[in-house]
């Protein structure tokens, strides 16, 4: 995680985000560090409440309105954590764009798609009016919407779910961002459409030399889409590394548990594996490793100290005192 890689564009270092509920602090993110390079797709995986979406919202400067964000988010030599709202606004949408799970609620139902595209363009580029329209058509075309020029006049409800997500992507990418934050972009879509949208995101990341931070709960999506992967649990990254290596031989017991609860390559109608217990509530985290109470390889130190994310092999990081070696998920 150093700057030695010339292509690194985003570097998150020791990110902490804390919300407050009923006057008590809620540690939503603790010591989260990772980086994204140009053209890289990094998958952020975890269950509800693990902090994956909060990470995106912290980068986008949305979390600090509701809570405290500390640590560093380095972007082109400046720090997004300490940056003024004004300066941040120049980066949001223009250099870093975001797409959401439910495209219908993130599009304005009262404005035509063309208007919303041009709005983004006029906010983030210096293009004259005519060029903006051309660019809008070009963008819809780019994301694979047929007869783009005619569809500029349509309203969001006139598009299907998959097409709407394409529109969202077109709007997000209109200003040529260098980083795309995607929050469960295909969760609401059917598998066939999901495959199309993921293909599209991959192709655009390559063509535009753009980094992508993809938040998902589906390990299959990560396996098929991402270069690298970070697994989150209770606000921390517990395992990180290249997708192929992590899924081949997961090191953290939680990663193993997640992979084993996916019914793939199992004898049919046999009990599925499920991690015993439930995730801890963020305002009552155990001392030591947050996963320890549910962990089958828990040893003495796990209950006292919190394991740091450490390098185990080439580019693989695991936060565990007793990592699994030789483990296999379901991948044959």
């Amino acid at each position: 995680m150093t700057m030695e890689d010339q292509k690194t564009i985003l570097e998150v270092d020791g990110l902490n985000t804390t919300f407050h509920r009923n006057g008590r602090p809620l540690p939503a993110l603790r010591d989260v560090s990772f980086s994204v390079a140009r053209g890289e797709v990094l998958g952020l995986v975890g269950e509800s409440g693990s902090g994956k979406s909060v990470t995106l919202r912290s980068i986008m400067g949305l979390a600090r309105r509701y809570g405290e964000v500390t640590g560093q988010i380095r972007w082109k030599g400046s720090d997004l954590v300490t940056m003024s709202d004004r300066a941040l606004r120049h980066i949001q949408g223009r250099e870093i764009a975001m797409i959401f799970q439910e495209p219908m609620t993130s599009l304005n139902p009262l404005l035509t798609v063309g208007l919303q595209l041009e709005e983004t363009l006029s906010a983030h580029t210096d293009l004259p009016r005519k060029a903006r329209r051309d660019r809008a058509v070009e963008m819809l075309d780019l994301v694979g919407i047929p007869s783009a020029a005619q569809r500029l006049k349509d309203y969001p409800h006139q598009f299907s779910g998959g097409m709407r997500q394409r529109v969202m992507i077109a709007i997000a990418l209109a200003a040529n961002p260098k980083l795309l934050l995607a929050d469960e972009p295909t969760t609401a879509l059917d598998v066939t459409i999901q495959a199309q949208i993921l293909d599209l995101i991959l192709r655009l990341a390559q063509d535009m030399d753009m980094g992508v931070l993809l938040v998902t709960h589906d390990l299959g999506v990560v396996a098929q889409t991402c270069d690298n992967l970070a697994v989150m649990y209770a606000g921390r990254i517990v395992e990180q590394g290249p997708v192929r290596d992590v899924l081949r031989a997961p090191g953290h017991p939680y990663t193993v548990g997640l992979m084993r609860s996916v019914p793939e390559n199992l004898p049919p109608r046999t009990p599925l594996y499920s991690v015993p217990g439930v995730p801890p509530s963020l305002d009552a985290l155990p001392t030591g490793c947050a996963f320890a109470p549910r962990c089958s390889s828990c040893i003495e130190p796990c209950l006292q100290d919190r394991p740091a994310l450490t390098l185990i092999t080439d580019r693989r990081h695991v936060a565990c005192f007793n990592p699994i070696t030789n483990a296999k998920g379901n991948v044959a």
Binding site: V191, A223, P263, P268, S274
Partner: protein
């Protein structure tokens, strides 16, 4: 295995907006064709998986079986009785014997009733137990779905999604049904919770000898729980057969595309899949001929004219495709 339920040529058309004037003049409004001739047997003790994209009619089919929707044509027979026939239309014992569980764990329970009240109500309405034995039975039901006894006095909002689905299962089981319809039962849950609920369902099926119709869009899950699987496209079954056979060697081009679109955990499978172009056509204007021909790369003239019938294929299940032999010869 005998069929407990026989669905024959089921059609369902929803009016897409009808005004008072339409009612008065008897003018038909525009229609959405949700089901277009579904034939299906549900066999005693099996789990039948139903898969398809959203809007394909799989949930509508489930809702017809529990009489939440009334079909426009066709019949559903339960033990030889037409459930929409005049004799059984108002028969509430059918509702007791065939139960349904819903997708959204946040809306399927009345937010103002405690778990105990929810379960007791089901028992009382169907006179499952004498009044005095109801508390004991409620406690038993909570045990059955592995919920602690103190859940009784709690309101739905005090539970997690997985726990709420357990309550919904307990409510369905309270009336001792023979058939369970699970409509996207675990879709809204995290994977590890999903696994717990699915395990519970499989165990209960063993224990109580239930017949289950498992409707879901997660193909891996359907493959795991089902004995047989039906693939639905635009309100028609395009392929049905033994789960393992169908998943390891799908015969219909749509089944093939659907299965290959499901993201595998194995990163080495990348790029080996056949991508399906285009999206589901609007059910407001259905394509003529085979419903899939618009997105099918094997489509020929006959596909654009005639609707293929569901026919048995040697060594496979039943497939509705004009070109099933050629496709699977070189596939």
């Amino acid at each position: 295995m005998t069929a407990v339920m026989q669905i024959r040529d089921l059609h369902l058309r929803f009016p897409a907006g009808r005004s008072l004037a339409d009612f008065v003049t008897g003018r038909p409004g525009r229609e959405v064709k949700a089901l277009n001739g579904v034939d299906l047997d549900l066999k005693q003790g099996e789990t039948l998986g139903v898969v398809g994209e959203s809007g394909c009619g799989k949930s509508t089919l489930a809702r017809c079986i529990v009489r939440l929707n009334t079909p426009s044509e066709g019949s559903i027979e339960f033990e030889g009785q037409d459930i929409f026939g005049s004799a059984s239309r108002d028969d509430r014992s059918y509702n007791r014997r065939v139960q349904m569980m819903f997708q959204d764990p946040y809306s399927s329970l009345n937010p103002r009733m405690t778990t105990g009240q929810i379960l007791a109500e089901a028992l009382k309405v169907h006179n499952m137990r004498p009044e005095a034995e109801i508390p004991a039975r409620v406690a038993q039901l909570l045990d059955l779905v592995r919920l602690p006894q103190d859940a009784q006095g709690k309101l739905p909002h005090e539970f997690s999604g997985g726990q709420r689905q357990r309550i919904a299962i307990a409510r369905a089981l309270a009336v001792e049904p023979e058939v369970l319809i699970a409509d996207e039962l675990v879709s809204a849950l995290d994977v590890s919770v999903q696994a717990q609920v699915v395990n519970l369902l499989l165990e209960l099926q063993q224990e109580l000898g239930l017949t289950i119709l498992f409707v879901a869009h997660d193909l891996r899950l359907v493959r795991h729980v089902s004995n047989r699987v039906a693939v639905i496209y635009l309100g028609r079954i395009v392929e049905i057969g033994d789960s393992e056979t169908l998943f390891s060697a799908p015969s219909h081009p749509y089944s093939q595309a659907l299965l290959s679109a499901a993201p595998s955990l194995n990163p080495d499978n990348r790029g080996t899949v056949t991508r399906l172009e285009g999206e589901l056509p609007s059910p407001l204007n259905m394509p003529v001929g085979c419903p899939f021909h618009i997105r099918c790369r094997h489509a020929s003239d006959v596909c654009r004219k005639d609707v293929p019938a569901l026919q048995p294929v040697e060594g496979r299940g039943e497939v509705a495709c004009h070109h099933v032999k050629e496709i699977n010869a070189y596939a």
